[in-house]
Amino acid sequence: MEAASVTHGSHAGVHDEEHHGPPAAHRSSRVEPQLLGMLLFIISEVMVFGAFFTAYFFIRVVQGDEWPAAGTELPKLVAGVNTCILLSSSVTMHWALESAKSGNRFGLKAGIFTTFGLGLTFLFIQINEYVHIGFSPQDSAQGSVFYGLTGLHGAHVAVGLTLLAFTTIRSFRGHFSPEEHRGVEVPGIYWHFVDIMWIVVFLTVYIL
């Protein structure tokens, strides 16, 4: 992959010097395709979460309704512990990649496996919270937004766990080295993004 990037880099240089037309199909003259793809993905994600946050702020700010709905309560302590679990998983993810970069295979395997386990624990606690919370999405607008925001994030965690499952298997098979660890780096960026979104969701839904 890195070799391909180098090849592409030299190609882009030739492209800039000799070619005087628009860039080739599916290419931008300014942004690397990988970065452009990730940027578009993040922008689309921000818009999806933004739609749900708009509904949330409409209820609380425009309507001035109480949060959560009357007669319901959000389990702040459980959510706080769950937040610590998810943040810990980002630390172990960072440890895993640093271990991969330094050739520490035990650190890589332990870090990525722990990250997967912590992510799974987060999702399990979240589902358990749904079971015991005492209201459903159709009960109120607040309920709809609560399940929408936390459920959307939970879906992202599930996708992240799928990526981590592949990364864990590949780590145990010895696919990564100090020179080639993109398969850990990209899921790592995604995992931190999921954590950042959770911090925003946790702050707005449970704390504020």
């Binding site: 911090i199 925003v200 702050l203």
Partner: protein
């Protein structure tokens, strides 16, 4: 400039910044609620 899409290390650093800012915001709001 911090670009969290460039590497995992920068994404992790952004996460740390977000946690710190969120903690400050939560602290200020809870303090304001307790005072007013």
């Amino acid at each position: 400039m911090l670009n969290p899409l460039r590497s995992e290390a920068e994404a992790f650093r952004l996460l740390v910044y977000v946690v710190v800012v969120a903690a400050v915001v939560a602290g200020l709001v809870l303090l304001a609620r307790a005072v007013f």
